[in-house]
Point group: C2
Chain length 335, copies 2
């Protein structure tokens, strides 16, 4: 039986409509990385081809780098003069930053990377966020990963992208407002309360460690939408401790590994939601309370179904498999 | 140079980020209908296989039907007892209707159908909306079409879908609120003002007839997002005149034909946005003014790019081709 469910933070609706013909294992795909070499001389991201792109950063220094940052060749945003269209329509020039964070091995998806490599990437994200903080034209830094063609990855070599925007993205804004209103009403954080509720109910818990809880999201927009929530309340990803960062690297790798193994390397995105950059945010009247109310997190978003006309017309994603089933499948419980 | 643009009705943002490597003709695909027979004996929608599904309606009566309506076999919604979850999370049982409206010929996409067949389908939509009006559990009827696998069509035989929902879809709600606030402020309809503005500027006008204006949408979420706007202000698609219906059939067929020819039958969705069902709407305190402010329309939504992690993280679609370029391409102007 189908059910409309509301995301308690953003208030967005989804329709969970179980298609009886399909079980979780029916979503198995085929790895895009299979048979690829560790080094591809034709790949612009591979060691040996560093001269083909401008470099913003590498670590460690020298030939044996593990992580490099380069500007996106087809940048969605650029540093240009700011303007705002004042006619009938509202627009804003596409100022910002668009960077690519590349890991070394051509054929090693994040799911198969060492924890040290994942940790190095996460540390790099924090460095870049800190570097962009205070830039007067920037409001938000969105870090995300595309894996597989169906998830929008145009190059197979594993990489992350960072897009810094002059506006706070609507989804982040909706979440911050949701947290703020919940906080005003309940004097608690909604994400903290979700963790409490989910650990009690257990149905959607995929994994729990000292510092993190992993859930199949209650109002999953697509099958296997997975939330990694830090137990320690905090608004900003960039403010987490070294220890949390190490744990997060482990948890992220474990969860991507579960998906890789159980669904044969599905196409997926993942992304971090954190507070807008500090500078921008202080202009805002709610800033202190919003900062208190928000709770950063990481979302893994596999791409195993295609949205059709209904989704784009209504804004209500139809998800054919309940998160309670995917959580059980990912935990490996006997049915 | 890239530009953030805001949809003036819903206030949703998009990022128009022209990828200099691509021109409109580079989005050409390959027809999914090529080489298909007019009748496929294995297709459950084809004449001769009527007994394989329950029938809700056919026209004309008898063997030579042109349009049939059947319930969706994998219904996203069903008639069940209503309930609302009262715990930590909010949910609503998936009550409603899910119907499939089938046209006769297996290999004839809407773009190639006769105007009479398109008109018959549109008339059928109106009949179904009128039939569902007054149902106490239903709030909205969403009619849409999926064409091509990348647009979510699982069966190739041309068909429309109708999903009646117990909640007003968020995108429709956002538009109605946008219209309402604009009306409160300006004492005019925002869609009427868009038509006025666009006919003056001309850049994004694809086609104009006595009763309709066709635009490449200012804040297009994907390349070739096309709006068909009726010139006559009215909140409800189901209230249009016979003459408008005939004109709409022609305009829809012409526009789908343009896309079919110039992009080699691209995968696409299209859908109608109209007011929520009359019964439901009268519960609402703004109802009379909303009805005055809203303006029904039809959106064609080709599926030639894939949203990646950025889109799902932020809610800001990146569209690599400005609507001014697609409008010119569809009009056939010399560059």
């Amino acid at each position: 039986m189908s059910e409309f469910r509301q995301n308690p933070i953003s208030k967005h609706w989804v329709l969970i409509a179980p298609n009886r013909a399909k079980r979780p294992e029916d979503y198995k795909t085929r790895s895009v990385m299979e048979g690829l070499p560790e080094l591809d001389h034709k790949c612009v991201f591979c060691p040996g081809n560093e001269a083909q792109n401008t470099e913003l950063y590498r670590f460690p220094y020298g030939k044996n780098w593990e992580v490099r940052i380069i500007p996106n060749k087809f940048a969605a945003l650029e540093h240009t003069a700011l303007y705002r269209h004042k006619g009938f329509y509202v627009s804003h020039s596409g100022d910002g930053d668009h960077e690519v964070i590349v890991t070394r091995k051509h054929n090693e998806p994040v799911a198969l990377q060492s924890i040290a490599t994942v940790e190095l990437s996460l540390e790099t994200f924090i460095e870049r966020i800190n570097l962009l903080t205070g830039h007067p034209e920037l409001a938000y830094v969105q870090i995300f990963h595309n894996h597989g063609r169906e998830a929008g990855a145009s190059l197979v070599h594993p990489h992350y992208q960072l897009i810094a925007t002059p506006i706070v993205p609507p989804h982040v804004h909706d979440e911050i407002m949701g947290c703020y209103h919940y906080y005003q009403h309940n004097h608690t954080c909604i994400y903290c309360d979700i963790i409490k509720e989910e650990l009690e109910v257990k149905d959607r818990v995929v994994y729990e460690s000292e510092h993190f809880v992993v859930l199949s999201a209650y109002a999953s927009r697509k099958p296997f939408e997975t939330w990694i929530l830090p137990k320690k309340h905090g608004a900003r990803f960039e403010d987490i401790s070294k220890e949390e960062l190490r744990h997060l690297s482990f948890v992220l790798k474990v969860m991507l590994g579960q998906l890789y193994t159980k669904l044969s390397d599905p196409p997926l995105n993942f992304y971090i939601h954190t507070m807008p950059l500090k500078k921008q945010q202080s202009d805002h009247r709610h800033s202190v309370q919003e900062e208190k109310a928000y709770h950063w997190h990481l979302v893994i978003f596999p791409r195993l179904t295609i949205w059709a006309g209904f989704e784009y017309a209504t804004g209500i994603p139809i998800n054919p498999i309940p998160p309670e089933i995917t959580a059980q499948f990912l935990r490996g419980d006997n049915p």
